[in-house]
Amino acid sequence: MKDNKTLGHALQTPVKRRSVLKAGAAGVAGGLLMPGAARVALADDKKPLGAWPAGAEGDSIVLGLTVDLTGPYSAQGAAQQRGYELAVEHINNGDPILKEISPDLKKGVLGKPLKIVSADAETKPNTGVQSATRFIHDDKAMMISGSTSSAVAIALEKVCNREHTPYFTAISGSNETTGVDCQRYGFRPCYFAYMACKAVAPVAAKELGKNRKAAYLTPDYTYGHTTTQSMKEFTEKEGWTTVTNQVHPLGAKDYSSYLINIANTDADVLVCVAYGADAANAIKQAKQFGLLDKMKVVVPYSSAYIEEEVGADLMAGVILAQGFWWTMQDKYPQAKHFVEAYQKKFKGMPRDSSFYAYLAVMVWAAAVERAGGLYPPDVIKSLESGAVLNLATGPFSIRPEDHQGIVNFPVMRGKKKADMKNPDDYYEIIQIVEGKDVLPDLGVLGCKLGDYV
């Protein structure tokens, strides 16, 4: 958290200076080139904000996407890119699926097609911030979305808040994204650490027993620390004790010394908070060190494709949460339609990264249609209206007080290879958790949203 603050501070100065310069230039250009727009703006008492009004006046509306195509979370970033593409295709073609999602959605947004500009955020906050600033100033993006690392997501929501441009995370697990670092212009549609841990802890206690002794592997940044904190809190309520917490750097390759430390304790559950390739590495090496013969594994916030990376043999019996799993189509007809559309366009089954990217575009588009325009404060207020969308995880809405998505997600158990009905059948869903049941009470995580203008 401390690192995060320092980084945010370091980022602020140059961005501020540049955006002031650019905003000044844009203002001058706007005044010269678009007298009509300026008059309208004055008449409505609406000052230019972010890329508005320029971004609302073109033939298409631009979405700026910051996806991690390189770095430790590149697999998730590539999956997000696919989700965004699918959503934009559905909206631009006026796919029938739109009507099922929300009556507000139509072909195009305000009758205009959507256009994607995207850049590789490299799983680095400063690269993401540079891309987002460029999208808003140069491409006139009216919405920014994309993230896998919470460090990137928090940096992006801060810069988008300053630029008065709605920002939607794709994946962000840290409690701080809609907690102490929440922003008026930042939204997190996906589930996160607190929700996941509150849901997973009772299931794990039921499956593995009370009085378990847990050892944690925690990546050393905001997501890791807040997830471990939440998981400790909720498992200790179930009677578990925390024996050791091994904090490792993000992107660590060799877990041997941490695993030897854990082997030296009497822990019988390994809680793997590591995400992406880190989780795959940690679980694989835990097996090599003989830990999995005596310990059960719990992954409170698991990453897309972890099952492919680790393999069914090691995933069997692992208890985890994931944002979306394709067998949810047995419960929600929307999930079936989403999976079919995804399979038609891309190969393979969609994962939560693709789903959350798709969700972000739909939530934003429906809000813009309801607002009847792109003036940023109106769009934000529309997003805060509590309107419900029907998506692959069932009914979805945004909590107006902290901009957290009220979203359902599955808690699952890894299947044995022999029990898999097809190569994608990695998990058995133990429970589909209702988002509203596991949200933190308002104020618990310290969110204070800022002003609209």
Partner: protein
Amino acid sequence: MSLFFSQLFNGLTTGLLLALISTGLTIIYGTLGVINFAHGALFVVGGYAGYTVYGLTDSFVLALAGGSAVALACGLVMERGLMRKFYSRPPEDQILVTFGLSIILIEIIRGIYGGVSLSVSPPEWGMGIARIGSLIYPMYRLETLAIAAVTLLVLYFILYRTSLGLVVRAGIEDAQMVDALGINIKRAFLVVFGLGAMAAGFAGVVNSPIVALTPDMGFRYLVESFVVVVIGGVGSFPGAIVGGIIAGEILSLTAMVNPQYSDVMLFVAMALVLVFRPQGLMGQEGRE
């Protein structure tokens, strides 16, 4: 106390593995004086090529050969196409060009294999678990101790006990003079660069059953290799081994006390070496 000995032992095996991983860097840096920032990428290329060969042939030995061969080919192409034009340029140019090459190599790998990490299982002779007192240790990691030791010995012999090494080191001092003596110095440089690339690729295959393969893994190994080379001394083979073991012990023993600080302590050690013995523990003073 048993935890201490466990970590001490783990530091040794981790350290020798680090020494093996950093040899490619030492070879090219120590003989040609080029700081090869593509070292991590060549390590990854070797790992992925080994993965493919292992998948096709089911033989880990062939995977080692295949991974090394592909990295060697990459190294030879790099040297012929670009690097030989950079020997006389300043180090920052060499860093930039090798860094650029590493990005290209890594993105080619990502284009072919995707970003989802891949898993390589240890060969049959490396499966299973060894029990050393109370310590449970993967068999394969024990065997990497031997693999690393033998490889380091062979490379040392090639570079320091054959005429090739002599020619190259003379060529670094005065390429024109060596050329005038009728020795094909360009070819010697090519061979050494290829050897360095091959060593990186070989280490990539040896390491692949231990970690999950990702296109980005090379960067971390590049940094760790640099630490090993700086601590041990530039271009010194015994230095690379000493540096590797020291780095391994620091990582392992600090993790025993407070895992959060293990990375930090590694760089503290490097900084201390740079302050008190800039040429590295086993390096020669004044060597470029």
